[in-house]
Symmetry: D2
Subunit: 193 residues, 4 copies
C-alpha cells in the first residue's frame, strides 16, 4: 500500500482559524496529518467526527500528529458562512486548526473537496509523514481502528530519515465560551449592553 | 402547586417554521405544551434537548401534547439567522413547530426569553391544559422524569371539563434532507449546476 | 382498558432479598407496582432493564411506586443460584426488593414466570393500584414511555378512594460493595486472611 | 521503555475455555498479547472491558494480536465458579480464549493475579512480541488510546527478526446462545422437557 500511495493534493484555503500561520502539507512533512472534512450543519460531523478529532488531538503529541478540520461547504452556503463557523468553533470549543475550503467558481463543491474527490461529510483523510494520502473514508470509523491506523503511520514516520519539522507553539484554547457541553448560560452583563 | 401556578406569558414570535398557522397559548388550551428553548449553536441543545423534544413529539398524541421549539438567540446573532435556522431544521430533520423568538430592541435577549426569565439554553417549559406555567427548567432533565411530568399534566388535562381544541393537521415532515444521522452526501447533480 | 384488565397473578417466591418481610400484591394495594423479571446472566437485563428499574426506584416516591425484581431463572440453573444472585445484587448495588421465582417441579420455567405467561427476560410488568395487570412487555421500553405509563397509573391510583397501605421502611442500601461502576478493587486486608 | 520492560510472568491456569489447547506466553512469541483480567460479577468488566476486548479481537488479525480473558476471582468465589463462568461466556457470546486464574492456597487472590501484582478488575495487560510486559492498567482505557498502543506494539513485532508462531485455528464461536444483546428468549421446547 505504501508504495502506491500518491501525494496528497495541496489544500486550497479561503481562511484559517485557530492557527497563527497557514498550514501546508510541505511544512507538515514528518508528521502524520489527520484531516477531518466537515460542515457545521452536518449532524454526523457534530455528533461523531469532530469530537473524535478532538480526542485525537488530545491523545497524540503535536510533534507526531497534526489534526486539521476542513470546512467543506457544499450545501446551505448562505447559512454556513465564515461568521457562523467562527461562532460554531467557539461554542463547540474546537481548538485545533480549521480551514475553510476555497469555494468553487462553477458549482457548489469547494476546491479541495473536489481535488480529493470527497463524496460528502464527514470525510476522514490520513496523510503520512511523507505527504502521501493513505486513507480516505466517507462516514464513520471507530476509535479503536482510528487509533491503530494513526499509530501505524506514526511508527512509519518515526523510522523516516528526515527530521520532523519544528513544532509550532500549541494554539491557545479559547476559554471564553459561555457554553458547557450541556448548556449555554446568559452572561449576566449581556442584558445591560 | 396547581393553585398557585401563574398563567404562562404569551409568545412573541418573529417567524414560525413547520406550521401552516402561528400557534398561540389560547388556541392550545386543553393540551399540554412542551416548549424547548434552544439555540442552533448550543451544544447541549443539539445533543440532548432537541432529540428529546423529538422523542416527546413521537410518543405523545398531538391531541394531548404540543411540542414547540423556541429559538431564543441571545448571542452570536449574526450567525444564528433565520436562514441558518431553516437549514439547521432541515438537516437535523426537526419536524415539530419552531418559533423564532422576537429580538429585543434594547439588548441581546429576545422578548419571550425575557418574559419567561430564562437563564440560557436549553430551557424546558411545561404548560398545562389551562395555560399555566407548571415547569421551568434550565439545563437537562432525564427522559424518565420528563415522561412522568408530561403524563401527569396529560392526566390533569383529561379531567378538565373544557373540550380540547380541534387537532390541527400534522405538519408534513420534510424528507428531502441529504443528511442522515451519520453523514451528509453530495447530491450528485449538484456539481453540474 | 381499565375495565377489562385482569387481576395480576400472585407471586410464588422461593426467597426475598432487600426486604425485611415478603411483599405481596394484596399488601401493595394503592401503589403502582413495577416488576422487572430478569436473569443475572441476561445481557439485556444487566445493561438496560435493571439500571432502568433502579432509575424508577430513585425517581418515584416509595409511597406511590414499588419496584420489584423477579429472578426468573429458566436456563443455566446451576449457574444462577441464590448464592450467585446475592453476590450479583451486592456488586451491582441493587437496593430494591428482589424475589427468586419459585422453581417448577416439571420443567425449567419457574412458577410465577409461567403464571404470567412470560416469554423470556427482560419482561416488564406494570400493576395498578387495584392489583390489576396493566402492562406486560418482553424486551425493551424507552425511559420516556415508561415514565409516562407509570405516572398515568400513579394518577389513577391517586384518584382511588382506598387509602394506600402504610409505607414499609426503606430497606437500607448496602454500602460495602468493593465495586464501583467501573472497577472492583481488592480489599487490601483480603490477602491476609 | 522497551529496554527496561521485564518478562511477563507465566500464567497459572486452572481451566481454559474457547481454545482447543492451552495458550502460553512462549507459544505466543511474535504476537502482541492483550490480556484482560476480569470477574464475571464486576460491573465495569461487563460493561466496558470485555466488550472492548471483543472489539480488539474483531479488529486485529489473529496472526498479530492474541486477546485473552483471565478470570481472576478474588471475591465471591462461591458465586463465580467454572460452571457459572461457562454460562456467562455463552450468554455474553465471548469467543476469545478465557483462562481461569489458578486459586491460591492461602488467600482469596489467585496466583496469576498475585504474580502480576494486579490491584483488582478490570486490569489490562499488554505484552509485546518478545514476551515483555509493556502495559499494566487497572481501570478503564479509551478505545483510541488502546488501538494506538496495540498498533505500536504490532509495528515493533513486525520489525522483529523472529518469525511469528504459526496461527492456531480460530476457535469456533458458539451460535447457540438464546440471548441477543437485548433479551433472552425461552426456547419453546424447554418447557416440554
Amino acid at each position: 500500500m505504501t508504495q502506491t500511495a500518491s501525494a496528497a493534493p495541496a489544500w486550497q484555503v479561503a481562511q484559517w482559524f485557530n492557527t497563527a500561520t497557514p498550514l501546508t502539507l510541505d511544512a507538515l512533512r514528518g508528521k502524520v496529518v489527520v484531516l477531518t472534512a466537515f460542515q457545521m450543519l452536518c449532524p454526523g460531523c457534530v455528533a461523531h467526527s469532530l469530537p473524535q478529532a478532538a480526542r485525537v488531538a488530545a491523545l497524540f503529541p503535536r510533534e507526531q500528529v497534526q489534526v486539521i478540520g476542513l470546512h467543506t461547504v457544499f450545501e446551505h452556503h448562505e447559512a454556513m458562512t465564515a461568521t457562523a463557523l467562527r461562532a460554531f468553533l467557539h461554542e463547540y470549543r474546537i481548538a485545533f486548526p480549521v480551514a475553510i475550503d476555497q469555494p468553487g467558481s462553477d458549482g457548489p463543491i469547494p476546491l479541495t473537496m473536489r481535488a480529493y474527490g470527497m463524496r460528502g461529510t464527514p470525510t476522514l483523510i490520513l496523510i503520512d509523514g511523507e505527504g502521501r494520502l493513505r486513507q480516505h473514508l466517507f462516514g464513520r470509523i471507530e476509535d479503536l481502528e482510528l487509533g491503530a491506523r494513526i499509530a501505524g503511520l506514526v511508527a512509519e514516520a518515526a523510522a523516516l530519515p528526515m527530521p520532523a519539522a519544528p513544532t509550532p507553539p500549541r494554539s491557545a484554547t479559547s476559554d471564553e465560551a459561555a457554553c458547557s457541553d450541556d448548556q449555554c448560560a446568559i452572561d449576566m452583563d449581556d442584558d445591560k449592553r
